[in-house]
C-alpha cells in the first residue's frame, strides 16, 4: 500500500478530453472578430545591409491593410539574456542589416492570408549584399566579415569550466586519447508551427495568443521591445502544439503580429508555414568538440579536457546557456580529478542556434559516451564496469559546481547489465550500444533577471470543495498541468478530479519562468505543494477547533477524508470541513499561496536525474541502413508523480534523440537550409520506433516535491551515443559526426578495410 493516494497512480491527463475530442483550441485555431492575417517578407541573403524598403505598391493591392518594417519599431535589440545588454543583439524586424537567410524584413497584414502572401511580392527591398560566413572556424579568422559591431572575430560568448589540477591529473593518466567530433543541428519541428494572434486595443492594452513555452517571458520581452508596461500585456497560451526548447524566445510571429496590431488597431494572426518554421526560427546548436581524456589502465578516470566551438548562427538567444550546459554535462555522470572545458560560441550567417530538449547535453554525450566506449575497447575493459567505477554517487560534490543529493546511476548499471547479458550473442550485423547521462532538474539561471520567484502557485477552494489551481507553469504537452494537479491533490488530500488547473494566461496566473530547463516538476511542483499545504493548514485549523481530540493527536486529510492520523476510521467528509472553514472565516474563500526559488543549490540545478540506456541496432553493412531493434532505459527521476506521463515523456525523448542520432540532418549551402520541409527532413515515424521499456530506479530527491525530479528532457542525451556505440560494436567503425548517415557508415567501412589491407 503506497503512502500516497494520488501520486504515481494511473490518472488521465487533465486536458485529455479536450485533446482527444478536438475541443482544445491552439493559437493556430484562434479567430478574433475583425482579425487580419499577417505574412512576413524574409531576407534572401545571408548577410546584407537594408538600403531601402518600398512597399507602396503592396499597399495598393485590394485587401492589404498595412505593412510594417523595422522603421515602425522602436529598434530595440532584444534577447533573453536581459542581464547582459550586449547579448541582447536581435531586432526581430532589423532596421539596417539582415544576418541570415529567412530573417524578417517586413510584415504585411491583409484581410486574407492569400492576399497578404500576394502582397509580399509587391514589396521592393534594396540590399547591399555583404560577405557572409557560415562555419565557426571560418568566422573567427582575421579576414572574416563582422556580424555584430564590437564582437571581435565574431566570438559571441565564451565559457570556461575547470576544477582540479588538470595537468597533474593528466600526468597520472596511463592512457590518453583525443578525438574530434561534429554534432549537427536539429529542428524542434513542433507539430504546431510558430503562431501568434495579437490584439492591441485603444486602451493601450495588448492581448497576445501565442504558442509559447513561457507566457511570462513573452510578456516581459514584448514589454521591452514595444515600450509597454508588462502589466498592459496579456499573453495567453492555453494549448501549445509542442515546444522542445524552441518557443520561449520572441519569434517573428509574435513580434510582427504585435507591431502590426499596434499600428492598425486590429487583431492580426500570423502562422508560420512549415518552411518558415524550418528556416526562420531557431535550432539545436551545432558543435565541434575536441575531447582529450586521460585514464588509468584499470579504467579509473583522471582528467578530461574539452574545447568546443558552437555555431551560434546570427544571434545569441538561448545559445549562450547551451554553451555552458554542454560543458558542464560533458563531465556527467562521472568523477574527474581534473576537468577543463573551454567553450566558444561564434556568430555565423546562419539560422540562430538555441536551446533544444537536452540543452547542449546531447552533443556533450554524443562525444563523451562514444569516446569512453572506445577507451574501454582500447584498454580491453568492461564498458559497464568502467563507467560504474567512475560514476557519481549520492553526496558526491562536483568540485565547486554542484552537490549531488539523490543519484541512482549505480542501480541503472545493474539493470542494463542484466538485460545485455540476457540478450546473449547477436548476429554479426547487430549489436547493443550503451550510453549513460545525467541532467539538471530545473535550471538555476536568471539571466532573464526576473524579480519574481522562479515558480509560484495559488490554490483557492470553493464552497463545494472543488479546487482552483493557478500556476504560471506552462503545459506544452509534457503534462505539467496534470503533474501539478496530482501534487496539489495529494498535498490537499483530495482527488485529481477535484482540481481545476488554470495556466497559460499571464492575466490570471502568477509569474513562473515557464517550461524549460526541466523546471516544472521540481520548481512549480514545490510551489504548488506549498500553496496546497497552506490552504490545507487553514482547513485543519478549523478541524482542530472542531475535534474533541486530545491536542497530541495529528489531523490529516487524505482522499477527501478528514481524520486523526492515529484514528483513520474516525473522520468526516472534506467538503463538510470546507463549508465550516469558509463559514468560520466570515465567508472568505480559502486561498493558499506557494512559491519556489532554489537557494544554496549552486548555479546550475537543485537536483540531477540519472539514466543509462542500451540500444540494439541492426545495420545493413552494404547500404549502411540503420534499424533500431530494441532498447532498455534505466532511469532515475526520483519519485515518479505521473506514471503515464513519465513513460510518455521517456518514449518521446527516445524518438527525438534517435532522430538526432541518425535521421535529422540540417545541411546548409551558402547559408541556405537545403531541406526545409518534411519530405527531405526526416523525423522518426512509427515504423522506426523500437520498444522503449523503462526501468524506473527508485530514489528520493530531498529537494523535489515528494522526492521527484526531472524526467523527459534528460533522456534526450544518451540515445545518439548509444546508437553510435552499437555501430562501433557491430562494425568496428567510429562515427564522429552526427547524424550518422548511411553514406558515412559505408565510407567508414571502406576506410577500415583499406587500413586492414595495409
Amino acid at each position: 500500500m503506497s503512502k500516497y493516494s494520488v501520486i504515481n497512480t494511473h490518472v488521465h491527463n487533465v486536458d485529455g478530453i479536450a485533446k482527444v475530442t478536438g475541443r482544445a483550441t491552439y493559437t493556430f485555431d484562434v479567430k478574433l472578430p475583425g482579425m487580419l492575417y499577417g505574412k512576413i517578407l524574409r531576407s534572401p541573403h545571408p548577410h546584407a545591409k537594408i538600403l531601402n524598403i518600398d512597399y507602396s505598391s503592396a499597399l495598393e493591392l485590394p485587401g492589404v491593410i498595412g505593412v510594417v518594417t523595422g522603421k515602425d519599431t522602436l529598434g530595440v535589440k532584444q534577447g533573453i539574456w536581459r542581464r547582459f545588454q550586449d547579448l541582447c543583439d536581435e531586432q526581430i524586424l532589423p532596421v539596417d542589416k539582415v544576418r541570415y537567410i529567412g530573417e524578417p524584413v517586413a510584415a504585411v497584414a491583409a484581410v486574407s492570408e492569400e492576399i497578404a502572401e500576394q502582397a509580399l511580392d509587391l514589396i521592393d527591398v534594396q540590399y547591399e549584399v555583404l560577405p557572409a560566413v557560415y562555419e565557426p572556424l571560418d568566422a573567427i579568422k582575421k579576414e572574416a566579415p563582422e556580424l555584430h559591431a564590437g564582437f571581435e572575430r565574431n566570438i559571441n560568448v565564451t565559457r570556461h569550466i575547470e576544477w582540479g589540477n588538470v595537468e597533474e591529473a593528466f600526468e597520472e593518466a596511463e592512457y590518453v586519447r583525443e578525438d574530434w567530433f561534429k554534432c549537427g543541428g536539429q529542428a524542434h519541428m513542433c507539430m504546431e508551427t510558430r503562431a501568434a494572434v495579437s490584439s492591441y486595443t485603444p486602451d493601450g492594452k495588448l492581448t497576445v495568443y501565442h504558442s509559447s513555452q513561457s507566457p511570462y517571458y513573452m510578456q516581459g520581452l514584448l514589454a521591452g521591445v514595444l515600450g509597454l508596461k508588462e502589466g498592459n500585456i496579456r499573453v495567453i497560451s492555453h494549448y501549445v502544439g509542442g515546444g522542445f526548447g524552441g518557443k520561449f524566445e520572441l519569434d517573428g510571429a509574435i513580434f510582427c503580429s504585435a507591431v502590426l496590431s499596434m499600428k492598425l488597431h486590429r487583431p492580426v494572426k500570423i502562422v508560420f508555414t512549415r518552411e518558415e518554421d524550418f528556416i526562420a526560427t531557431k535550432r539545436r546548436t551545432p558543435m565541434s568538440y575536441y575531447v582529450r581524456t586521460g585514464v588509468k589502465k584499470d579504467g579509473t578516470f583522471c582528467a578530461r579536457e574539452a574545447k568546443v566551438f558552437t555555431n551560434g548562427g546570427a544571434y545569441t538567444g538561448m545559445g549562450a546557456t547551451a554553451l555552458y550546459l554542454t560543458g558542464f554535462f560533458h563531465s556527467f555522470p562521472y568523477r574527474w580529478k581534473g576537468y577543463r572545458y573551454d567553450g566558444y560560441r561564434v556568430y555565423t550567417n546562419t539560422l540562430p542556434s538555441t536551446s533544444m530538449r537536452g540543452f547542449g547535453a546531447p552533443q556533450a554525450m554524443w562525444c563523451s559516451e562514444q569516446q569512453i566506449e572506445w577507451i574501454t575497447a582500447d584498454l580491453g575493459l568492461d564498458p559497464i564496469e568502467m563507467r560504474r567505477k567512475n560514476a557519481h554517487y549520492p553526496g558526491y560534490e562536483v568540485p565547486g559546481q554542484a552537490t549531488i543529493a539523490s543519484c541512482g546511476i549505480d542501480q541503472c548499471f545493474d539493470v542494463v547489465q542484466k538485460w545485455v547479458k540476457e540478450k546473449g550473442k547477436l548476429p554479426g550485423n547487430r549489436a547493443v550500444g550503451i550510453s549513460a547521462a545525467g541532467f539538471m532538474s530545473g535550471g538555476i539561471f536568471n539571466w532573464f533577471d526576473t524579480p519574481y520567484s522562479f515558480s509560484s502557485a495559488v490554490v483557492t477552494i470553493n464552497y463545494d470543495g472543488t479546487v482552483e489551481l493557478y500556476v504560471g507553469a506552462q503545459d506544452i504537452g509534457q503534462g505539467s498541468n496534470t503533474t501539478l494537479a496530482i501534487i496539489c491533490a495529494e498535498a490537499l488530500g483530495v482527488r485529481v478530479e477535484d482540481i481545476k488547473v488554470h495556466s497559460g494566461d499571464t492575466e490570471h496566473c502568477p509569474a513562473d519562468l515557464g517550461a524549460w530547463g526541466s523546471r516544472q516538476t521540481l520548481m512549480a511542483g514545490n510551489a504548488v505543494k506549498m500553496a496546497a499545504e497552506d490552504a490545507k493548514k487553514q482547513l485543519l485549523e478549523v478541524a482542530y477547533a472542531q475535534s474533541g481530540f486530545n491536542i497530541v493527536y495529528d489531523l490529516d486529510i487524505k482522499n477527501r477524508w478528514v481524520h486523526a492520523i492515529a484514528r483513520p476510521e474516525r473522520g468526516y467528509d472534506y467538503a463538510e470541513l470546507v463549508k465550516k472553514a469558509i463559514r468560520g472565516k466570515d465567508g472568505q474563500r480559502i486561498i493558499g499561496r506557494g512559491h519556489y526559488t532554489p537557494h544554496g543549490k549552486g548555479m546550475i540545478s537543485p537536483a540531477y536525474s540519472y539514466m543509462l540506456q542500451a540500444v540494439e541496432v541492426d545495420i545493413d553493412k552494404e547500404t549502411g541502413k540503420i534499424k533500431l531493434v530494441d532498447s532498455l532505459t534505466a532511469h532515475d527521476c526520483g519519485q515518479p508523480i505521473n506514471r503515464l506521463g513519465l513513460i510518455g515523456q521517456l518514449e518521446g525523448a527516445f524518438s527525438m534523440a534517435a532522430g538526432y542520432g541518425y535521421l535529422e540532418y540540417m545541411p546548409y549551402e551558402d547559408g541556405k537550409l537545403m531541406n526545409p520541409n518534411l519530405v527531405d527532413y526526416k523525423v522518426m515515424r512509427a515504423t522506426e520506433m523500437p520498444d522503449v521499456p523503462v526501468a524506473e530506479i527508485d530514489t528520493y530527491e530531498p529537494e523535489g516535491p515528494y522526492g521527484a525530479k526531472e524526467a523527459g528532457e534528460g533522456l534526450t542525451n544518451p540515445t545518439a551515443a548509444a546508437i553510435g556505440n552499437a555501430i562501433f560494436h557491430a562494425l568496428g567503425v567510429q562515427m564522429k559526426e552526427c547524424p550518422i548517415r548511411p553514406e558515412m557508415i559505408v565510407d567508414a567501412l571502406k576506410e577500415k578495410e583499406e587500413k586492414e589491407r595495409k
Binding site: T623, K625, K682, R685, A686, T687, P742, E743, V746
Partner: protein, 291 residues
C-alpha cells in the same frame, strides 16, 4: 498559394477528352492530385483549367484476360489494387509494390495513372517496377487511342510522350511468363519514404536454368526510370553465379545516371544501385527457379 484556375468536372471520358482537346496546354488533369497540389501550392505549377477525372467511374476498374493480362483503369486507387484479389492472384508482386507506396492516406486517394503520369514518377515505386513487368499504357485523345510500353512513356525530366490532348486511361500488365519472377526494392531511411534509389528486376529462366530474358530498371537514378540494358545483356543466356551477378551489378551502376543531393552523393547512389541490383537479380532468379 494556389493560383486561380477554372475547375472542370467532366461526366464522362468523352467529355474529359474533348475538354482536353479544347484547352490542351492551358489545362492540367487532376485525379488524386496529391503531388500536383503540392506543386500548385508552391506556385511551381500554374494552370488556367483543371480537369478533374477523379469521379470518372468508367476508368475505375481492374480486369484480367489470359492474352493481355491485367488492365487497370486510370482512376483506380493504389489501395484498390493493393486489396484486389484478382491482382493478388495474377500479379502478386504488384500488391507488394503497391504496399511500398507512401502512406495509407496517400494510397487511399492517389490513382495509378496519376502516379505514372506525374512528372517525378521516375522517383516513385510504380514506374520502375511496372517497366520491369513489361507494362504498357493506353493513351486516349478525342481523335484516337494508342498503346505504348511504359518504358517509352518517359522522355526526360518532368517530360513524357503524351501529347497535350492525351490522357492516360489504362495501365496494362502482361501475364507473367512461366519461370519468370519480378522483384523490387528501394533504399530509404524511414518506412515507405521515397527511394533514394530503387531497383526492379525481372528474370526469366529457361529449362536449363539459364537466363532467358531479364529486365533491370532503376528508379531515382536519372531523369527517367532507367533500363540497365548493358546489365541485362550480361545476364541473358548465362547461368547464375556470384561472379556474374557482381558483373551485372557493376554494369547497372554504369548504366545509371544519378545526381548528388543532400540524401546521397552520386557515388553513393551508384554504390546502392550495385548492392540493390545484386539483391534483386538474385532474388528474382531464385524465385523464378523455384516456380
Amino acid at each position: 498559394m494556389i493560383h486561380d484556375f477554372t475547375y472542370l468536372k467532366p461526366g464522362s471520358l468523352q467529355e474529359a477528352l474533348s475538354m482536353l482537346a479544347d484547352h490542351k496546354d492551358e489545362c492540367k488533369i487532376i485525379c488524386g492530385g496529391q503531388s500536383l497540389l503540392i506543386m500548385m501550392r508552391q506556385g511551381i505549377l500554374v494552370t488556367d483549367y483543371l480537369i478533374d477525372i477523379k469521379g470518372l467511374d468508367e476508368l475505375n476498374y481492374i480486369t484480367y484476360d489470359e492474352r493481355e493480362g491485367l488492365k487497370i483503369g486510370a482512376t483506380t486507387t493504389h489501395r484498390l489494387i493493393e486489396k484486389s484479389e484478382l491482382v493478388k492472384k495474377k500479379c502478386p508482386i504488384l500488391v507488394e509494390i503497391e504496399k511500398k507506396v507512401a502512406s495509407i492516406q496517400v494510397r487511399n486517394w492517389g490513382s495509378i495513372a496519376g502516379n505514372l503520369a506525374h512528372g517525378d514518377a521516375q522517383a516513385g515505386d510504380l514506374a520502375p517496377s511496372l517497366i520491369a513487368l513489361g507494362a504498357k499504357v493506353k493513351l486516349a485523345s478525342s481523335k484516337r487511342d494508342r498503346i505504348m510500353p511504359l518504358e517509352e512513356f518517359y522522355t526526360g525530366f518532368f517530360e513524357n510522350a503524351m501529347n497535350n490532348d492525351e490522357l492516360m486511361v489504362e495501365v496494362r500488365v502482361p501475364p507473367i511468363q512461366d519461370r519468370a519472377a519480378t522483384t523490387y526494392t528501394k533504399f530509404n531511411l524511414i518506412g515507405n519514404d521515397q527511394g533514394i534509389v530503387g531497383v526492379a528486376s525481372t528474370v526469366v529462366i529457361d529449362q536449363n536454368g539459364a537466363c532467358k530474358d531479364a529486365r533491370i530498371v532503376l528508379g531515382n537514378s536519372g531523369v527517367t526510370p532507367i533500363r540497365a540494358k548493358n546489365a541485362e545483356k550480361i545476364l541473358r543466356g548465362k547461368g547464375l553465379d556470384d561472379g556474374l551477378i557482381a558483373e551485372v551489378a557493376e554494369a547497372a551502376a554504369r548504366d545509371a545516371d544519378p545526381v548528388s543531393d543532400i540524401h546521397a552523393s552520386e557515388e553513393f547512389r551508384r554504390h546502392l544501385i550495385r548492392v540493390l541490383t545484386k539483391r534483386m537479380v538474385k532474388q528474382a532468379w531464385d524465385q523464378a527457379a523455384h516456380l
